[in-house]
Each structure stands twice: as structure tokens, then as C-alpha cells.
């Protein structure tokens, strides 16, 4: 049985789509990036007929992402000006390197995370002699796709029932309740 590869994230970048489809490439000032977490919410239930309890998955946490840029970026700060009911596209790109790859073919693997969301910005306090940074959050994410290499890892679309699962259940449920034809 082959072991799982040891994939180390060697670099990442964040791209935002500005007005008119322009690309804002933040690689020169990018500090940290955080992918949306894949997390469920649970209700704890102890059946009357049991002496134990179980956490029942009820729903998933909303998608939220974040990054920070050193300095101030007028073009990125402007993305706060997003009218209600609209969202902007953001992509986080990463490069994974397989520590123990035996051939060059599968040594580098790309991570692509694309989401549509709304941007919040908080500029740090400025102190003399320090490098000012700005913390950004991407909230109200309505759709999200994470792929690593050619494999789709996570897909979310609130309009089509939320998170896509591996067995097609979300699609069947969506059909049953009339979300999709």
C-alpha cells in the first residue's frame, strides 16, 4: 500500500478580480492567506434510550477566507466598494512540492481555490518605525471551489444546495426539493 505523499506548500499567491475584470496580483505584499475551513456544526443529542450521546451534524460553517497584505493597497481597499447583492472573485494559488517524489512528473502540484465573496479590510495601527499591514477578510462567500492538481477537493454553491458531497447525495437532495431540475 503506497504511502500518502508528503506535500509541502512552498509558495502561495492571491489574485482578486477588480472592476472590469482586471486582475489584482498581490504577490509583492502578500503576508498570510487562509483558505475557507471545511467544518461542520453539530448538535449534541443523548437519546433517551442510550447512556451515551452523539454529535449530530446539522450544517456546515459558512465559508470565510482571509489574507493580509503588508503596506496599503488602494486597488484592493477599493474592492470594499461592492454593491449589496454582488460579490467579487478571488483566487488563492499555491504550489505544493512532494518531498519524496520519485519522478519530476508529479513533484509539483498546484492548489487553486476560487471563491466569490465580499471583502472586509482592517488597516493596522501605524507606529513609527513599523511596517503597516492591512488584514482582509473574504466573507459572504456564495460559491467556492478548491482543487489540488487535477482533483476537486471541495465545492460549495449556496444557490445549488451548498456543499457538494462525494456520493451525489447533495445532487439527489437538490432534485428532491426542487432546487435543480
Amino acid at each position: 500500500m503506497a504511502a500518502l505523499p508528503f506535500l509541502v506548500l512552498r509558495a502561495s499567491n492571491l489574485l482578486a478580480e477588480g472592476d472590469g475584470g482586471t486582475t489584482l496580483n498581490t504577490h509583492l505584499s502578500l503576508g498570510k492567506t487562509k483558505l475557507p475551513m471545511l467544518k461542520e456544526k453539530y448538535d449534541e443529542f443523548s437519546p433517551a434510550a442510550s447512556n451515551g450521546s452523539i454529535e449530530v451534524a446539522t450544517t456546515r460553517e459558512p465559508c470565510a477566507s482571509g489574507f493580509n497584505l503588508k503596506g496599503m493597497q488602494p486597488d484592493v481597499l477599493e474592492l470594499f466598494r461592492t454593491p449589496f447583492g454582488t460579490r467579487r472573485k478571488f483566487t488563492i494559488l499555491g504550489a505544493l512540492v512532494n518531498e519524496y517524489a520519485t519522478s519530476a512528473d508529479d513533484r509539483e502540484i498546484q492548489v487553486v481555490a476560487t471563491m466569490w465573496g465580499r471583502l472586509n479590510a482592517e488597516t493596522d495601527d501605524h507606529e513609527g518605525g513599523s511596517l503597516l499591514g492591512t488584514e482582509y477578510e473574504i466573507k459572504s462567500i456564495s460559491s467556492y471551489l478548491l482543487t489540488i492538481g487535477t482533483k476537486e477537493i471541495a465545492r460549495f454553491n449556496i444557490e445549488l444546495g451548498g456543499w457538494v458531497d462525494s456520493g451525489g447525495q447533495s445532487a439527489r437532495i437538490a432534485n428532491m426539493i426542487g432546487i435543480t431540475g
Binding site: F90, T91, Q110, W116, S143, Y144, T150, N157, E159
Partner: protein, 140 residues
């Protein structure tokens, strides 16, 4: 309800992004050529406005008009606004100004600008314009 476009934001045109083929080191398929005019001076001309304007609060005294390329003409034909004539759009593009600015020129400046543009516009557009003028004069 439509599927949102979850293709990645492209850092540069032609970026392959994720998909069927795994991305190796990012080398473009073939390097793009660097193209520039052989005689830059014949590609642009500058005129001074006799009656300068303030555009968004900034003084506009000189207008540099550059020769239109095929790509410019294609864009004009595809994306022209319905309420602005093709000639104004073409001149605005050649001067790098908004059509409203061209229309706000004092009449004499407007004529000088139109005359300066004429050698730098595509011949077909100039012919169209002359045809229109001839038709209008015939009607008058």
C-alpha cells in the same frame, strides 16, 4: 440560477489555471513578440488646444493623437455605445480621451482636432466620414 464562474482569476492572459493537464513550471507555450512602430513619430501627433479644458479638475492643454491599430478598430466596431457616433469614438480612442471630452472642445479646437486626426485614422473611416459630409451638403 446559473452556475457561478469558478475558473481562477487569471494573473496574466493565457494562464492555463487548473484543469485537465497538471501545471508544471509556468513557461508560456511560445514567448509573445515585442512589437513597436518602426517610425514612432509617424504614429502620433500632438496639438495644442487654443481653449484648454478642465477634465475632472485637471487642465487639458495638449492632445496627443496616436494612429489606431486593427485591434482598436475591432474593439470600436464591437463595443461602440449606441448614442455616440463611430467617428467620435474613433477619435476619442486615438486621443486617449473620453468621447464627452471631444464633444466639449471649442468649435475651432474641434475642427483642428478633427483635421489632425484625419491622417491617423483608417482610410475606410475617413471615407465614411467624407461620404456622410457629402450627403449632408447635398441635402442642404
Amino acid at each position: 440560477m446559473s452556475e457561478p464562474d469558478l475558473s481562477p482569476v487569471k494573473p496574466y492572459p493565457g494562464y492555463p489555471g487548473m484543469g485537465a493537464e497538471p501545471l508544471q513550471a509556468a513557461t508560456p507555450a511560445s514567448p509573445r513578440p515585442r512589437v513597436e512602430p518602426a517610425e514612432p513619430r509617424s504614429w502620433s501627433t500632438t496639438i495644442k488646444l487654443q481653449w484648454p479644458l478642465l477634465v475632472d479638475g485637471e487642465l487639458l492643454e495638449e492632445v496627443t493623437i496616436r494612429r489606431l491599430t486593427g485591434a482598436d478598430v475591432a474593439d470600436l466596431l464591437i463595443g461602440g455605445a449606441a448614442d455616440v457616433s463611430l467617428n467620435v469614438l474613433a477619435r476619442a480612442r486615438a486621443a486617449g480621451l473620453h468621447p464627452d471630452v471631444i464633444e466639449a472642445f471649442a468649435a475651432d479646437d474641434g475642427e483642428a482636432f478633427a483635421a489632425a486626426c484625419r491622417p491617423l485614422l483608417p482610410a475606410s473611416l475617413v471615407a465614411l466620414e467624407q461620404q456622410l459630409l457629402a450627403d449632408t451638403e447635398a441635402q442642404i
